[in-house]
């Protein structure tokens, strides 16, 4: 087909996206080299001072980054295992199949922050139902939101509730699109359900699994909404993730220049680590 038309299709979208994004990115890089804060709100040039500060004198950022890695990797692994199990269970005929499929999808349709508002009352340490029910069977109240270690698990519980459905959806859609022949062959050979899963289903699902895990990791790396409402990063900094820390520096303390430094570094780390994870996963899951 000829030359001109293809650009008419591609360019509107491409240029709108580039048009909206190019300014923020260049601006962030420039801002990261300035000392813009609430005292001197101007675009001066202080070289790489901010970057030196970040790499030598800001353990809080790196802690928040490792915390984020821990939270997102844990939640995505849990979501993958549970989501895959659920997808396998409602893949073939079971009673009320469509009812369960709808139920399993519902959490991803609900707004995370709004559900977190409800979760906050749910995990309330004296007036919430969880501690009350646990109390009935003789378990002492658990400090869901004010204990630094348990608060992390509360965040994980909420994240798993919220986003397992997305994993479930991607994996179920994948399962439903698999070819029938390998399963027939396995049935003729008399393979047990377990062997069928290990030798047929799982290898066939590997590419889809990788796709789903990476998509979820990308989304999970942005954990912020839940933390913001549930614990506000607390107690102390126990649940503070990178985004939240950048938010505090930039839009609460108005150290815009330094926040831009953090943002840009964070973005670069994200791109590099997600690329590495994608490569490693592909190697691990597709062996032959």
């Amino acid at each position: 087909m000829n030359f001109k038309h293809k650009f008419v299709f591609l360019f509107p979208g491409l240029f709108v996206l580039i048009g909206i994004l190019i300014f923020p990115i260049i601006f962030t890089i420039r801002l990261s080299l300035s000392g813009w804060n609430s005292y001197t709100p101007e675009m001066n040039f202080i070289g790489i001072t901010n970057y030196i500060r970040l790499f030598t004198d800001d353990p809080r950022f790196w802690e928040s980054f490792f915390r984020l890695s821990f939270l997102s990797v844990t939640t995505v692994i849990l979501q993958y295992v549970i989501g895959f199990a659920l997808a396998l269970m409602v893949w073939r005929e079971i009673k009320f199949k469509r009812f369960f499929r709808v139920i399993f999808l519902i959490p991803m349709m609900t707004t995370p922050v709004i559900m977190t508002v409800i979760w906050r009352t749910f995990f309330h340490e004296s007036l919430g139902p969880v501690n009350d029910l646990l109390g009935n069977i003789g378990i002492k109240p658990i400090l869901w939101l004010s204990d630094p270690v348990i608060a992390k698990f509360t965040v994980i519980i909420v994240e798993v509730w919220q986003w397992t459905p997305f994993m479930f959806l991607l994996l179920l859609a994948g399962l439903l699109s698999l070819p029938k022949e390998p399963f027939l062959a396995a049935a003729i050979d008399g393979a047990s359900p377990f062997r069928k899963f290990v030798y047929v289903t799982f290898p066939l699902m590997a590419p889809i699994s990788i796709g789903a895990i990476i998509i979820r990791l990308i989304e999970a790396s942005k954990i912020m909404d839940t933390v913001f409402v549930l614990t506000s990063g607390g107690p102390g900094t126990a649940t503070e993730t990178s985004s939240f820390y950048i938010y505090i520096k930039g839009l609460r303390e108005f150290q815009m220049g330094y926040a831009a430094t953090l943002s840009f570094t964070y973005l670069v780390i994200m791109i590099i680590s997600l690329t590495i994870i994608a490569k490693v996963l592909t190697k691990l899951m597709i062996k032959e």
């Binding site: 801002l31 269970m89 009352t121």
Partner: protein, 282 residues
């Protein structure tokens, strides 16, 4: 062995269903409570544990001056921003996806896949990275705290999703379809508009639903880029949460805010069961 497996399966499904439904049940129950039944001890079942009242729901329709929670305006703001941004993203995204699926692009080392990746990779961008420059940018051109400013930002969030789903979808629409149309004398635009597009309705619906979901549930941009003039639903509910709004009206407003998209779950399931989604999401 088989019986045990079936038993475990249904146990797991039941437990998970309880886990999913629990916060909703709790919120529904709480929305009918009053001061006494929230603060004295934990109560669950209306009439049995406590006397239900409609106070929590009544507050939603009252004006703020009379102690109400103004949720109607944020509701319409959210609908407007989500729908406008989704529509623009779908139109631009579908056009771009069609181009990437049908034509070959070559510019230096850049190929089709790289352009597709560029679109989709915008999802990697953490919202916080964009929010600071957008904050300054929008305040310079006077669009801070406005619906239009939000629509612009949401296009960045949603167009990658539209491109992601539509490229895969068009790849599965047979090429012969447009080729026949071209031989029959259509120009490329007519071929796209009259032949390819009508055959892509399922893909468009799936892409549309995903745009609406991810537009509707966004909190962060709305939170940073708007203050008082314009409020979106999630921001409003979180603002209620941080002020001293009682639990019953908080629960009622939360429930009413998440209700519309639950319908989407039914639509998604329908497409899933009909097999239309399988290809679209692969």
């Amino acid at each position: 062995m088989h019986k045990l497996y079936t038993f475990l399966k249904y146990t797991f499904i039941t437990l998970w269903t309880v886990f999913i439904v629990a916060p909703f049940l709790w919120a529904i129950s709480t929305s009918f409570k009053d001061f006494q039944s929230v603060n004295s001890k934990v109560t669950y079942i209306p009439w049995l544990d406590f006397e239900p009242t409609l106070e929590g729901w009544r507050v939603l329709v009252k004006s703020p001056a009379r102690g109400g929670v103004d949720i109607v305006e944020p509701y319409f703001n959210s609908i407007f921003v989500t729908c406008t941004a989704s529509l623009i993203s779908i139109i631009l995204g579908t056009l771009a996806a069609y181009a990437l699926s049908r034509f070959t692009f070559k510019a230096g080392f850049v190929r089709n896949n790289d352009i597709t990746f560029f679109f989709i990779s915008q999802r990697i961008m953490p919202p916080i990275v964009l929010s600071i420059p957008f904050f300054i940018f929008l305040s310079t051109i006077g669009l801070l705290d406005s619906l239009l400013g939000l629509v612009v930002v949401y296009i960045v969030l949603l167009m990658p999703i539209a491109v992601w789903i539509m490229v895969d979808f068009f790849n599965r629409v047979p090429k012969e379809l447009d080729e026949t149309a071209l031989i029959d004398g259509c120009n490329p635009y007519q071929a796209f508009y009259k032949v390819v597009l009508p055959n892509s309705i399922p893909g468009l619906i799936v892409a549309g639903m995903f745009c609406i979901i991810f537009g509707w549930i966004d909190f962060f941009f709305a939170f940073i880029l708007t203050f008082t003039e314009v409020q979106l639903l999630p921001v409003k509910v979180v603002a209620l949460n941080s002020s001293i709004t009682p639990w019953w009206s908080l629960s009622a407003s939360a429930l009413i805010s998440v209700a519309p998209l639950i319908i989407v779950a039914f639509v998604v399931e329908r497409y899933l069961s009909k097999g239309n989604l399988s290809g679209a999401l692969k």
